[in-house]
């Protein structure tokens, strides 16, 4: 059957076993293992704290974020600061998460599809908290390893990443004081740790290197504050993307209330926006034999030529170089 008798195969396909695999009695049965929370019939417990007892005692969602992600009760000032950050991160107008939620809503979907999809807007440019946090941790690790002055280490890294959307410094907040006020509030509340001073060094270095005026932006401010509150880059990414998702629920509602739903096939793309190949006749299947050419490369040189040709095809993906890193990787 097909290639299934090919001797290069790793085992004999004709005599393979049927049926599912027996449970292994020597190993423990599968269980959902968690350090975060458990529940039984009468309790829900997060990091050791009964959640009903927590709220009866006056703790709230922002406290729960410290408990779930950091396994601790926050100081009052820390809880206040997290609230401050979340208020500022809550709504951002018609930015990517709201747009995505509205597009999904226009298909007449459930609210959860729209709000959930808005979280997908957070990547390594928009709301790039993981990349940003790893950059700051990388600077600190490099300085500790090399023993050079912080200013020198920061300068070298900022020079390489001046245009990086995950730098936390840009021209986005030159007229809006929100980011700088947030840093000032963190300092006033006494929750600034090592990241806010480090971020200030990053800003200083970027301002020295940039030809355009730049300053700390919302990624830089919220990111540095969240790290100083003890949240990891990953936790920050999660918390702030979910914070934004609440407001996208309102955008979902408004889209449904104010706009018509969009049907399959409804949306046109003007021809004047098109810059692909000119219109051409479809070859018959007979003509295909003479028209079509296989693209396999036989040598590295051929491969390179084909590679460069393919890079010219917009939308092919060949011009994108993206490394999918293991997110678990330590700095």
């Amino acid at each position: 059957m097909g290639n299934l008798d090919d001797p290069r195969l790793m085992y004999k396909y004709r005599t393979r076993e049927h049926g599912t695999v027996e449970a292994d009695p020597k190993r423990a049965r599968f269980q959902w293992v968690s350090e975060v929370a458990y529940k039984n019939v009468h309790r829900i417990v997060a990091r050791g704290y009964d959640t009903t007892e927590l709220v009866e005692e006056g703790y709230g969602l922002t406290d729960m974020l410290f408990i779930d992600f950091q396994s601790r009760i926050p100081l009052i000032e820390e809880e206040q600061m997290l609230n401050y950050v979340m208020v500022c991160m809550f709504e951002d107008g018609l930015s990517s998460p709201a747009n995505i939620a509205r597009i999904v809503a226009s298909g007449k979907t459930l609210l959860t599809q729209a709000a959930g999809s808005s979280i997908l807007a957070f990547g390594h440019a928009y709301g790039a908290y993981q990349t940003f946090g790893k950059m700051l941790d990388g600077i600190l690790a490099k300085q500790a390893k090399e023993g050079k002055p912080l200013e020198e280490v920061v300068g070298a890294i900022v020079k390489k990443r001046l245009k990086d959307p995950a730098l936390g410094v840009s021209n986005l907040m030159l007229k809006d004081p929100m980011a700088k006020r947030m840093i000032a509030r963190a300092e006033k509340l006494g929750v600034a740790g090592k990241y806010i001073p480090l971020m200030k060094e990053v800003v200083k270095a970027a301002q020295k290197l940039s030809k355009e005026p730049v300053d700390i932006d919302m990624l830089g401010a919220t990111g540095a504050v969240m790290l100083d509150l003890g949240f990891t880059p990953e936790a920050t990414w999660c918390i702030l993307s979910v914070t934004r998702a609440f407001a996208t629920g309102a955008h979902y509602c408004e889209e449904n209330e104010q706009e018509e739903p969009v049907r399959l096939g409804q949306t046109l793309t003007p021809k004047e926006w098109y810059d692909g190949p000119a219109d051409r006749p479809v070859p018959t299947l007979e003509e295909r034999k003479s028209v079509a050419k296989a693209m396999e490369a036989q040598t590295p040189e051929e491969w390179k030529q084909i590679f460069l040709e393919r890079q010219k095809i917009k939308g092919s993906g060949w011009a994108i170089v993206e490394e999918i890193d293991d997110p678990k990787r330590k700095i």
Partner: protein, 297 residues
């Protein structure tokens, strides 16, 4: 840098200029400076108003307790997705999208309440009476009465009744009255039918409180589901950092969730693949016999 929006929309929610971000008329940075909280923002966003302190207290209570629920369908989604090691937001998004008509059906419960409160008004009946009518209509039609019963917390969700009590203390109103009436008449009828007591769940308790606080069914659903996204993110992060990718390793002392032995197959017995020469006759016979229909999903 192009700062123009992707598409044009008139919006009453917010605007953003180079100078400020404004939600429902309030400068966001000023709100934070003035000491308003995340809970206040939910009222401003969805209701265009500054909430009273008792309302904020209720919302703090409810979102605080709703955030974490250990292993529920949404947490399992987040863990399942992060096993492939995508970006974390993919796992968090999946968890929020898990909420539907079975897991946290908050909006549906809200619409049910609105319908019967409106009927009470139009038909001149009390809320108490309308609770009985609701229960009878749902049960007579063989429909599940929303807001009752939880598959894990068999004696009642530990959060639910305390939420009702807190609701009574802080912001009691027509929604709570209807929900209490539903619970009373639902269980009275079950008792008459010799069935056991079913307690209120977090839709019945939590969504009722959110409705009392002035959140629409959809807004309430958003608050509940997105709130859970926080803890699902914690579960995904834990799995990513301390668990093993793929969830099938034989080297782990405990059998993993995707170990082959976890698969129980209950489909058609293994069968020969027909050759292409046999195919047409085989397919015709299979269609005529119709046995396949019991497997169609």
């Amino acid at each position: 840098m192009d700062r123009q929006p992707l598409f044009k929309r008139r919006t009453a929610i917010s605007y953003k200029t180079e100078e400020e971000t404004v939600v429902r008329g309030y400068n966001v940075s000023d709100l934070a400076e003035a000491g308003y909280t995340f809970y206040d923002m939910l009222f401003i966003l969805f209701q265009n108003r500054i909430a009273a302190e008792n309302e904020v207290d209720m919302l703090r209570y409810e979102t605080g307790e709703f955030l974490e629920h250990s292993m529920s369908p949404s947490a399992v989604s987040a863990i399942g997705v992060i096993n492939g090691r995508p970006n974390l937001p993919a796992a968090v998004a999946a968890s929020v999208m898990t909420f539907g008509s079975a897991h946290g059906p908050g909006a549906a419960h809200g619409y049910m309440m609105h319908k019967y409160i409106e009927r009470a008004r139009v038909e001149g009946k009390s809320i108490e009476e309308m609770g009985k009518i609701l229960v009878d209509e749902y049960m007579d039609a063989g429909l599940a009465v929303m807001g009752l019963g939880q598959p894990q917390h068999l004696d009642g969700d530990p959060r639910a009744e305390p939420t009702h009590i807190k609701h009574e203390q802080l912001c009691s109103g027509v929604y709570l009255e209807l929900q209490r009436s539903i619970e009373k008449h639902f269980n009275a009828r079950r008792k008459k039918e010799g069935k056991e007591y079913v307690a209120v769940n977090m839709i019945g308790a939590g969504n009722t409180a959110l409705a009392e606080l002035g959140f629409s069914p959809t807004a309430a659903w958003c608050i509940g589901c997105v709130c859970r996204g926080f803890s699902c993110a914690a579960h995904a992060t834990f799995t990513m950092k301390k668990g093993r990718a793929w969830g099938a390793s034989k080297r782990e002392p405990m059998v993993q969730m995707l170990d082959l032995s976890m698969i129980k197959y209950v489909g058609p017995a293994d069968r020969e693949v027909p050759t292409q020469a046999e195919r047409q006759e085989y397919a015709k016979k299979q269609k005529e016999e119709g046995e396949y229909k019991k497997w169609v999903i």
